[in-house]
Symmetry: C2
Subunit: 425 residues, 2 copies
């Protein structure tokens, strides 16, 4: 689990990391296969399926140019119930002539095949009504290049294999199949106990390395839990966990067209924990996945945790921290392990938040480099060493109040530019 | 003069480029010397002085962390009259313990020595009252590193030499002495005739290569004209020229603490042109300097002119163009000569402007790559050639209305990052 101070829930009582991703949670199976959408021939089609209809909530991008999969998924989750999430990588199906139709085709193919399996199982079971899965019970996520027509036939052709591959150990395969330019899979799972006998598991997987500046949503993320949650409760928990995690990270300030986070609750936990413990677990899972996303940011060599404290309100603390975390000059300085606090104050000054520069103090790697708006005395070599780490902490005390917020970003590197100058349209 | 379509005044009738910078204008002298503020020993102190009190207007940064020189200069220009602008490079005198005091010291030293020269001249002249120049008639600009105390004694020691070096040919020396990480001087001058016998000269110099995302002001710019303009008229003309030029450029989205633009009007033109012609001339001069600033952007290999047309209002056109021009992914694609129109739509979608993606068309280097929200048929090699130029034009038609705006930016390169990771605090 992510150990950055200020990142994730302050209280981790009763939270125990466990191995595995989304299928660490009882009641879920997953799979990842190769459909051929990616020219590389790497896995590009993933499915996370609940064994029975699950409680669900989603948040998707606020970008006006929005993937048809986002629109579909919002509508599919509107009734608070869903059965599965199908995800293709290698093509975002955005700005394409038949985008909506292809999204529906994907959902329908998965629903049909899942329903057929249900029927076969139900033929010998007593406790579940027979009947096919509806397309509107299948959420869809697509990620990859924008503007190229999706070869949806390859996906529908691969769906039978995908359904056949569903497994209670399939989480890692699904996490691999949703990668685009990610260099590693991003998964986490945690067991939560509420101290009163209630317990369940919360897990998630994510993808995303660029076009990351979420606004009310982000990237592709699938979260699972075996707690029995209604749609409205899923929604409440999800918004609470996304706000201080995925909505406080930035790789490049570019907000994606396809950001989607879905939480599915199977409800199979015999004695689930209370909502407070569950909320903390979800917060911890989202914080950890968000950290993994930033750490794998395109070209990134280190993560920076920008914590603004002493602000008048949490919203102002967040705006100031975001202004620092999205400044190219600050991010280049982080790459150079340079305690360039002048750039930090410059960035704060553009945030539209009122403060007195003469009350601001700044720490880099825990060492004070600016006190009350002017240079502090510090050993430059010592600070450079403190900043040359996988996670560097930049702290700002505004001196205006008691509110705090942390935003994660990564360093800006020549490799980021080189990579994105060469990435094919 | 900058020849980018949509950049600068549409009507250039009566405008003739002439050689030289700020001293191409009668009534001004300038100088640049070495005071020792820059460790490199390069020129770092400039002065532009009117031969007599001039009409003046300034705009300075909107950054809350604001240089004391900006505050001083605003106050000094408030009465609409000024005599000179003194500029030091190598140290921004921002976030320093004695910033205000040092700014006043600079202005006072220049005023005292200019006044002494006046007195000497006036001893033999009839037509000018004797009397020293007031410190409040001297504008101050400072640029360079933030947070390091300004060695103001080096500047005051160099002022006598600076005054002695003042010359009607001193524009280029002044333009050189205001450079920091600029790789070349930025100057322009234009003669303007209004077709009714009125004529004068408008000129300017600028510096700036990074921390460039002006908001109502920008960089360091000194503009001169020999038209007889009152302070209020200077202000009106300056705001009109800055809005579509310096306020529509971006190198890295980071707004400086020290942005300052000053216009000085000597009033020595015997028969000055009308305000309309003068406004166009000032617009052309600002457009040209702004182009020069972007072309010299840190690490930049080319300029991109992002023109959004067919927007509902000019403000919306500007917001959309700015969103495209400040997207790291778009700017990296420009570096790679990649017609990545999906990133352009993505960036537009984050601008907070309502539009229908299905009505949007995009051209790269004049070739249509996206028509009505989906990929157009184009020859990729041909587009790559059209984009591999010093100035690449990205055109967007929103399909919502008649308004247009152009924003200039430069490509994002590995050299930008390398440079700013290594730049010392």
């Amino acid at each position: 689990m992510s150990g950055i101070p200020g990142w994730g829930p302050a209280d981790r009582t009763g939270l125990t990391p466990v191995a595995g991703g989304v299928t660490a949670v009882p009641g879920f199976r997953a799979a990842g296969v190769t459909s051929g959408v990616k020219p590389s021939g790497r896995p590009d089609l993933a499915l996370v399926a609940a064994d029975a209809p699950a409680g669900v909530a989603v948040v998707t991008t606020t970008n006006l140019v929005k993937a048809s999969s986002c629109t579909w998924t919002e509508q599919a989750a509107a009734d608070g119930r869903a059965r599965a999430v199908v995800i293709n990588s290698g093509n975002a199906n955005v700005c394409t002539p038949h985008g909506e139709e292809h999204t529906r085709t994907m959902a329908t193919a998965v629903a049909d095949h899942l329903g057929a399996v249900d029927d076969a199982v139900d033929a010998g079971a007593q406790d579940r009504p027979a009947g096919r899965v509806a397309a509107s019970d299948v959420l869809v996520m697509s990620t990859g290049v924008i503007g190229v027509p999706l070869p949806v036939d390859r996906i529908t052709a691969a769906v039978p294999e995908l359904i056949a591959a569903l497994s209670p150990d399939g989480g890692p395969a699904a996490a691999e199949a949703i990668m685009t330019t990610d260099t590693r899979t991003k998964q986490v799972a945690v067991e939560v106990e509420d101290g009163e006998g209630g317990r369940c598991t919360v897990a998630g997987m994510a993808k995303g390395v660029g076009m990351i500046e979420p606004a009310m949503a982000t990237l592709l993320v699938v979260l699972t839990t075996d707690a029995p949650l209604s749609g409205p409760v899923c929604r409440q928990l999800l918004r609470g966990a996304v706000r201080p995690t995925f909505n406080r990270i930035s790789v490049d300030g570019d907000g994606s067209t396809s950001d989607s986070v879905a939480l599915l609750a199977s409800g199979t936990a015999p004695q689930p924990p209370g909502l407070e413990a569950l909320g903390r677990a979800l917060h911890a899972v989202c914080a950890d996945l968000a950290h993994q996303v930033v750490a794998d940011g395109e070209g990134a060599t280190r993560v920076a945790a920008v914590t603004v404290q002493g602000a008048a309100t949490e919203a102002e603390a967040e705006r100031l921290a975001r202004a620092v975390a999205t400044s190219l000059l600050v991010r280049a300085a982080i790459h150079g392990a340079d305690p360039n606090w002048g750039r930090i104050l410059m960035a704060m000054g553009t945030a539209g938040v009122s403060f007195d520069p003469r009350r601001v103090s700044v720490t880099c790697g825990g060492i004070t480099v600016c006190r009350f708006g002017v240079a502090a005395t510090f050993d430059r070599g010592q600070v450079a060493v403190a900043m040359d780490r996988d996670v560097v902490e930049l702290g700002v005390d505004v001196g205006s109040g008691d509110a705090t917020a942390t935003v994660l970003t990564c360093d800006l590197t020549p490799e980021y530019v080189r990579f994105n100058a060469e990435y094919t349209t």
